[in-house]
Amino acid sequence: MYETNYHRASSIDEALKLMGSSAEGKYLSGGMTLIPTMKQRLAAPSDLIDLRHIAEMKGIAVDGRTVTIGAASTHEEVATSDRVKAVCPALCALASHIGDPHVRHMGTVGGSVANNDPAADYPAAILALDAMVVTDRREIKAGDFFTGLFETALSDGEIIIAIRFEAPERASYQKFANPASRYAMTGVFVARRDAGDVRVAVTGAGSNGVFRHAGLESALAGNWSPDAVTNVMVDPSDLLSDLHATAPYRANLIKVMARRAVAAA
């Protein structure tokens, strides 16, 4: 790791100021990706500004079916939140399978969403839940937020404060884990609001990161059942091929995980 300066921000204003005054600053919100990258000397921020201890970014609120999760909430806090579990258990299940206990106690929702790793779990949930990404300066719709591999709509210095969504009627996330990293080799989040409104988001498989699958959504909007998935074509041409899985195999996994998610929802 190259030398860096660590700052623990206690407010959003302080974090913004620290970022403004650093040469090449980076926000740190768990560091489950950033710190290993720095250890490998693949990233060299001059300053790390830790967001995990900012009070305005902590806490989980559920008001009716509106769920607001502070960006600094750890995966463990989401996984074990009874209030979230009562309205959207699929999100708790998703959080409970991220990494290992160490990762779940350090990593945060905001960190994961801002990093937009193409194999991370949260982006699939954010997209399928049609969530709002609340930042220090605006609200960004999930559909506008994820713009490519490790790319988001966030501006320089912009901080995610919270994630907000209306709990769906039914939802489930099914992940087929990479045998080595345990990241999603393919993960599918399905969410159904009412008969006509189904969203299916896929992570780990797209060559441009997380995406919604129109064919699966329309099939499930017409017929909310596992069998509805069977005849949907999943085109492998936009999917990732790597050491662990080819695009055709990922195409198969998308259908299998979607079917299982509907069955489990």
Partner: protein
């Protein structure tokens, strides 16, 4: 057996240290003035070095010096060598290319060491290593061993034209061809054995200390065999003469073979310590471990097995290409030859066997012994072939094996080995009972009702441990003898130190070796210390690998104990005025048989050292040494049965049941043996399902250089194992021990792949059986 003697499941003495974080590993060692080394490594798989510029690096903060291969050569440090000479079938010696500890003009794999920075801290050394400018002229790359043998491929070493190191054979080719021509059935198979990264929990490390006052070197290192390291560094690398070089291998956190070899880093740190005048420590990071620890396996084979009309095997023909990587590691040549082809008879009476083995240079990390070393490759090939043949012949896999089992001993195979003892029916029957093979059909039907596929597969393995005797291995090309030494030192108060040439890096020797002494002398194991791993404390020894420490290392202790006991009896007889032949050793005392007369062990020891009242002419003291050279290998064997459930939609395999029935001969500590079997099976399952080293074929870059891409088995990948032993004592060593360290890794991969191929109805499957491969095979299966 007593509560602490042979056969007792004694809790490991060393675990207090390990479990409380008090282990002392090489990286824990310090020396006054110690500095840190970081290696500049080649980012290219094959390139000429045009220029190395260290000007800027030398001026960076904390830097003591930056050294390269030219200086190393100028100082007369020798080449790394392979210590086992193999001759090709045309009589020519193997073609070993030059391996410099720091590259000279050419780099041949990603990770090849080019220069070393010595600095005040690791971070400063890393910064300076990045500032070393190396101009490379990249050369074409070849990583695949089959491709490397074709015409027009990159030439890796000028000494080995066409990248062929040797073309070796064993057995009677003409007899095999005749048998195949006249066979009722011939099973043919192509078998790939995947390349593995060893992944010990403790990465390699070394601390080189040069003392100018005595012109003496001390080398702390992560070694399975410190004496061999000292011998090789003295005799071949010109680091220092043996009397000026002390090698210490303190606590070592796993080796699996990868810490047998002497690597460039030990040599360079010792040399750099003299050059810079400060002790120099290097500790590998995990990426360096993936890049530079010797890998294992990597065979491509074709096999033909011939049967007569009664399903008896009449011949076996094997052709193997073995990838040895960019350089010949210390014992690399022995692994795909004498540790592999000599085991191709398995548990079967096969009248004719022929194997041809070609070893090949490629632009990949060196390949050498890894848990099992050749025997897993032989077992996988043979047991996949047996299962395939049973399916083709339409008889049960168990029945085909029973028809061909060796049942009379000793048995001479056509490939050197002479099996001394075994009962293969016993382990097969035990495994089949434990696996409830009769209930499989019902379990399969239940799986199928849930849309799953269920399969069962077996593997009957044999292996050879305690490689020996020295004269025989010498005649086959070994550069060293394969005996072991021991010294039993009884202190004046009766406590005991045992100096052993074996080395424990997870095996539990501090417990099992003490159990042997406790059993023999009736003293508590807490009064016994096992000393190993230091060339200044222990007489010459050969170290630990090939499951040899029990069969060979403990046998040496037995020989030394024989001498100690004989002398103690003389002293006791003298004290009690009894006849020496009436003295027995029991419960920590020497007794006159049939009487109540006794002298406590401690009193005999004290008498030996006070020397006030010894038999006439007897030397004072009670300390004896012995060297033990076995008469033969030992032959552990067993039967493993694996049952799997495959999800046909995803290709994911779940191990429903894993049964191991082993014959290890006599057992010193059943709990430790069980632990060794568990660990071995975990590694075997890792090979079969998860692990595989991948290089990019065009660039030679290592694609599996971290745990993000190299899949190590985790606890939730593994079932609970059902293990048992049925023992036929080894007749060739005093304890009847065969060895248990590698069996799990040898026996398990074919059982698993046989089970998966049974489940999916498609025999074309290679390791690791990843979900995608299994899914693809399901699409074309039944």
């Amino acid at each position: 057996m007593g509560v602490e003697g042979i056969g007792a499941p004694v809790a490991r003495k060393e675990d207090r240290r390990f479990l409380t974080g008090k282990g002392r590993y090489t990286d824990d060692m310090t020396a006054p003035g110690m500095k840190y080394a970081v290696f500049v490594r080649s980012p290219h798989a094959h390139a000429r070095i045009e220029r190395i510029d260290v000007t800027e690096a030398k001026t960076m903060p904390g830097v003591i010096d930056v050294l390269d291969g030219e200086q190393l050569l100028a100082d007369g440090i020798g080449n790394l060598i392979c210590g086992w000479m193999i001759h090709s079938k045309d009589g020519s010696p193997m073609r070993m290319g030059v391996w410099r500890p720091l590259a000279d003009k050419t780099v041949r794999y990603v990770g090849d060491a080019v220069a070393v920075v010595v600095a005040d801290s690791v971070a400063e050394a890393r910064d300076a290593a990045e500032a070393v400018i190396v101009d490379y002229d990249p050369l074409p790359v070849v990583t695949d061993p089959v491709q490397a043998l074709r015409d027009g491929q990159p030439q890796i070493h000028s000494e080995a034209p066409g990248n062929l190191i040797f073309d070796w054979e064993i057995g009677d080719a003409a007899a095999v061809d005749r048998a195949i021509a006249g066979a009722a059935h011939v099973t043919e198979l192509k078998v790939l054995n995947n390349r593995l990264s060893p992944n010990p929990m403790e990465p390699r490390a070394t601390l080189g200390i040069y003392d100018p006052g005595d012109d003496h070197y001390t080398c702390y290192t992560t070694s399975q065999n410190p004496h061999v390291a000292r011998l090789v560094m003295s005799a071949f690398y010109n680091v220092a003469p043996e009397n000026k070089l002390r090698v210490i291998a303190p606590d070592v956190g796993g080796g699996f073979g990868s810490k047998i070899y002497i690597y460039p880093e030990e040599i360079v740190c010792l040399w750099a310590s003299k050059r810079t005048g400060v002790p120099v420590k290097w500790t590998s990071d995990r990426t360096e471990a993936f890049l530079t620890d010797a890998h294992g396996r990597d065979h491509v084979s074709t096999v033909q097995m011939a049967f007569d009309a009664n399903h008896r095997i009449t011949a076996l023909k094997v052709d193997t290409i073995s990838n040895l990587g960019a350089y010949m590691s210390l014992f690399s040549s022995a692994v795909p030859t004498y540790l592999y082809a000599t085991l191709l008879s398995g548990q079967y009476d096969i009248p004719a066997i022929h194997a041809n083995v070609r070893t090949v240079y490629t632009n990949t990390a060196p390949v050498d012994a890894y848990r099992g070393a050749g025997r897993p490759e032989a077992t996988y090939l043979l047991e996949r072939t047996m299962e395939t043949a049973a399916r083709e012949l339409g008889i049960s896999p168990a029945e085909l094996r029973r028809i061909n089992f060796i049942r009379s001993f000793p048995h001479q195979t056509p490939v050197i080995m002479n099996y001394d003892a075994g009962d293969y029916d016993a382990s097969l029957n035990a495994a089949m009972a434990a696996a409830d093979v009769d209930g499989f059909a019902a379990r399969r039907a239940e799986s199928e009702r849930r849309g799953m596929r269920r399969g069962i597969g077996m593997s009957c393995y044999i292996e050879a441990c305690g490689i020996a005797p020295s004269a025989a291995v010498g005649s086959l090309g070994a550069g060293v003898g394969l005996w072991e030494s021991a010294e039993v030192r009884v202190n004046a108060v009766g406590t005991i130190e045992v100096m052993t040439g074996s080395h424990s890096h997870g095996q539990g020797h501090e417990t099992t070796f003490a159990q042997l002494v406790a059993d023999r002398l009736g003293v508590p194991i807490d009064s016994i210390n096992i000393v190993h791993g230091d060339t200044d404390k222990v007489q010459m020894g050969m170290g630990t690998y090939g499951s040899r420490s029990g069969a060979v290392g403990m046998s040496a202790i037995v020989k030394a104990l024989d001498k100690v006991e004989a002398k103690a009896k003389k002293i006791a007889a003298h004290i009690m005025e009894a006849d020496e032949s009436d003295i027995v050793v029991e419960d920590g005392a020497l007794k006159v048989a049939g009487t109540d007369k006794l002298v406590p062990w401690s009193q005999v020891a004290l008498a030996a050292y006070t020397a006030h009242n010894l038999p006439a002419g007897m030397e004072p003291g009670l300390k004896e040494g012995a060297f033990y050279d076995p008469a033969n290998f030992t032959f552990p064997a067993g039967c493993y049965i694996c049952e799997v459930e495959v999800d046909p939609e995803t290709g994911k395999t779940t191990i429903a049941q894993f049964v191991a029935a082993d014959d290890f001969g006599n057992i010193i500590n059943p709990m430790i043996v069980e632990g060794q079997v568990h660990g071995g099976i975990a590694q075997g399952i890792g090979q079969a399902l998860l692990e595989g080293v991948h290089y990019d074929p065009d660039s030679g870059q290592l694609l599996t250089a971290s745990y993000m891409d190299y899949a190590m088995p985790r606890a939730d990948d593994l079932p609970s194992f059902k293990v048992s032993t049925s023992n036929t004592p080894c007749p060739n060593n005093p304890l009847g021990i065969k060895g248990c360290g590698e069996a799990g890794a040898i026996g398990s991969p074919p059982a698993l792949i046989n089970a998966i191929t049974d489940a999916i109805g498609n025999n074309a499957l290679t390791m690791p059986a990843t979900p995608e491969k299994v899914w693809a095979a399901v699409q074309t299966g039944h």
